[in-house]
């Protein structure tokens, strides 16, 4: 779902087949896509993971071509910007075949969509292309006592139906074989100018498909009766847990327990990893190694200091990302990926809907918000699954303003957690309050309405270990690669500002704000400058200063609300336009400076009186 995974669409080379992958939300399209193309796209066990199309190359027995993954859609009448992408694609792109992924555990609803795709050929003759069906999650269906007569279903749909378990690579080769065969036959028929009757024999007789919703549901009902048998089985412990987690009791205590465990893993585990392994390794082995090497070639002076001085690129440029940030990013992605793939997040959304509605948005938005605790970019892109623009802007603003990313969390723990856990808790409580208040205010200010919850809850599943490991690895690697270059640049800039004395001059200019209003030392100006590059860089320079508790908290408060980093600002502008992007950017900065200053002034006054 992250921006780098969206690719500019390039037409196929001559002779290649271009296949379009479609289906309802949360049927496993992205897993099928990743397995067939090797292109890694985000997938999870809830609807709305894919919010844009992605194209990748497939190869099979000497044949090759393009495969296009589009967001899941319940019907061909789009209800969100993400669904619109899929609908536009099926209407406007020339493809050689459509692969429709069906969820074997929810055949009824999936067949309705399949019929819409079939019906397309009756209203748009230029869309007469073969359709191939992947009957995915057939293993889960079997465990639930559902058996499907695949041959009969294939006859009813007049198209190949291939049972698959995409996460385990089951049936995918057969799927490709069927798609290539269908596209080959279709192409031959076209090239030899076979009459329409022959074309229909491959793609289905256009007239046999019902064209109203009522008729479609009747067709689906008859088909289900013919092809599906459900044997009553006692629910498994996962099914019982899945049902229990949707009830207020034990759902709410369970949600609190899950969140506490998640927090314990990220904060506790991160601190342990940092102090037991990473800090000793970085500060005891890696940094001294670089200092020794640099000392051989460079004499002490500005260049030496820029490389290995107080803010040396080879000192802080390694310590900050690898020892202070990496453990939290890594552990956060373990927790997030597990919750995503298990299907727990939508359940959490159901639990918190009552509270979130008071803040003007529905509970399903807990998904992009939790993603925002990793990075704001996928969270903002994830809002494309929302059904109204108002809701999208509200969630994007809330995330940008008051949800600290995992890198910033690492920085907060390093600054506050090592002195007082209460200060750390305090920052997060203020963050939650700010999210809530922002929602309440924006709900009144932004015209229009935000749609109430209508959310399908996926099956609760034990995540596939291989998929999970791969996902965590890719996400952590991506984050560190994305973070390392700007962080090195930021540290380099910090070193130059300090070594050339420029920081003193800038500090003097901003002194009324930084010293007078925020009560921070002049050097804290560095955090305000670097925070533009990356959010955690607004906090990390404070580690090098001798601050009291009030100053630490003030600095953290400013950093929490401070302007989005450059990458986030870019995404905001791309998604909502320059005006909205600028309003969010300026608004968050002003909020940071005003709230930080108010806190400092109030805290100083109270401490003086006491």
């Amino acid at each position: 779902m992250e921006c780098h995974q969206e690719q500019a669409f390039l037409g196929p080379k001559s002779g290649d087949f271009r296949f379009l992958l479609m289906g309802n939300p949360n049927v496993g399209k992205s897993v099928v896509f990743s397995k067939l193309t090797g292109v890694e796209v985000d997938s999870a066990n809830y609807s709305g993971t894919t919010v844009s199309f992605t194209s990748g190359k497939w190869q099979y027995r000497g044949r090759n071509g393009d495969l296009i993954d589009v967001p899941g859609t319940y019907s061909l009448s789009a209800t969100s910007p993400a669904e619109q992408v899929a609908v536009d694609m099926v209407h406007n792109e020339a493809v050689d075949a459509i692969i429709v992924v069906l969820d074997a555990t929810n055949l009824e609803r999936n067949l309705f969509f399949a019929l819409q795709i079939q019906h397309l050929s009756t209203v748009s003759p230029d869309k007469v292309v073969p359709v191939i069906y992947a009957l995915n999650m057939i293993d889960v269906a079997e465990r639930q006592g559902i058996s499907i007569d695949v041959d009969q279903l294939s006859q009813r749909l007049n198209a190949p139906v291939i049972p698959t378990v995409a996460v385990r690579n089951v049936g995918l080769l057969q799927l490709m074989e069927a798609a290539i065969k269908a596209a080959d036959t279709f192409l031959q028929n076209q090239e030899t100018s076979i009459d329409t009757e022959a074309v229909d024999s491959d793609t289905g007789d256009a007239n046999q498909w019902p064209d109203t919703d009522d008729e479609r549901w009747q067709w689906v009902g008859r088909t289900i009766q013919e092809v599906q048998q459900v044997e009553h089985r006692h629910p498994t412990w996962l099914e019982r847990l899945g049902d229990a987690s949707m009830k207020p009791f034990p759902g709410i205590p369970l949600a609190l327990l899950v969140l506490t465990i998640a927090l314990g893993i990220v904060v506790g585990g991160g601190k342990g990893l940092r102090s037991a392994i990473l800090l000793p390794l970085v500060n005891g082995v890696i940094v001294p190694f670089f200092v020794r090497i640099v000392s051989i070639f460079v004499t002490e002076g500005v260049i030496y200091n820029v490389l290995v001085g107080e803010y040396g690129i080879l000192v802080k440029g390694i310590e900050w990302p690898f020892a202070l940030i990496f453990p939290y990013v890594f552990l956060f992605y373990i927790v997030l990926s597990f919750m995503e793939d298990s299907g727990y997040l939508p359940r959490l959304g159901v639990m918190v809907d009552g509270v979130m509605r008071k803040a003007g948005i529905q509970g399903g938005n807990i998904v992009p918000m939790i993603m925002g605790y990793g990075c704001a970019i996928p969270a903002i892109l994830g809002t494309r699954a929302a059904t109204s623009r108002k809701e999208r802007i509200m969630v994007a603003t809330m995330v940008t303003l008051a949800v600290p990313c995992s890198a910033q969390t690492g920085a907060f723990i390093a600054l506050l957690g090592d002195h007082s856990v209460f200060m750390l808790i305090g920052i997060y409580l203020i963050s939650f309050a700010a999210i809530f208040l922002t929602g309440v205010i924006l709900d009144r200010v932004i015209p229009g309405k935000s749609d109430p919850m209508l959310l399908e809850i996926p099956n609760l599943l034990m995540p596939d270990r291989q998929t999970l490991v791969k996902k965590i690895k890719i996400r952590t690697k991506h984050f560190m690669m994305e973070a390392e270059v700007p962080m090195m640049m930021g540290v380099g800039l910090a070193a130059l500002l300090v070594e050339t004395g420029a920081l003193v001059h800038v500090g003097e200019v901003l002194s009324p704000l930084v010293e007078g209003w925020l009560g921070l030392p002049k050097e804290a100006t560095l955090g305000l400058i670097l925070g533009i590059i990356r959010r955690e860089l607004a906090v990390l320079p404070l580690l090098e200063m001798d601050l009291n508790y009030i100053q630490m908290f003030t600095g953290s408060l400013v950093a929490l609300f401070y302007m989005p980093c450059l990458a986030v600002l870019g995404v905001l502008i791309k998604e909502f336009g320059v005006k909205i992007g600028a309003i969010i950017g300026v608004g968050t900065t002003v909020a940071a400076l005003v709230l930080g200053g108010l806190f400092y002034q109030a805290a100083t006054l109270v401490s003086t009186v006491l």
Binding site: Q144, P248, G349, M351, D353, R357, L454, L455
Partner: protein, 71 residues
């Protein structure tokens, strides 16, 4: 009665429902049987089971869906 007022574990059939594109697309239609799974506090959603799947429906929508209780 409205879906929101149905008792937990109660079974019902939809008699009338509002015209909401996403609801149509998700397969809600007249005559569809459902079972109430849970109702969340603080005006939260109702969770219903439709065949083999569960859907959370906001109170605002659930109050507009009229149902007939069945045994």
């Amino acid at each position: 009665m409205s879906l929101y007022k149905m008792k937990i574990k109660g079974r019902c059939i939809i008699e009338t429902l509002p015209s909401i594109p996403l609801m149509d697309a998700m397969g809600f239609r007249m005559g569809l049987p459902m079972e109430i799974q849970s109702r969340q506090p603080m005006g939260g959603p109702v969770v219903v089971r439709l065949g083999n799947r569960c859907v959370a429906i906001a109170r605002e929508f659930a109050e507009q869906i009229m149902v007939r209780e069945v045994a």
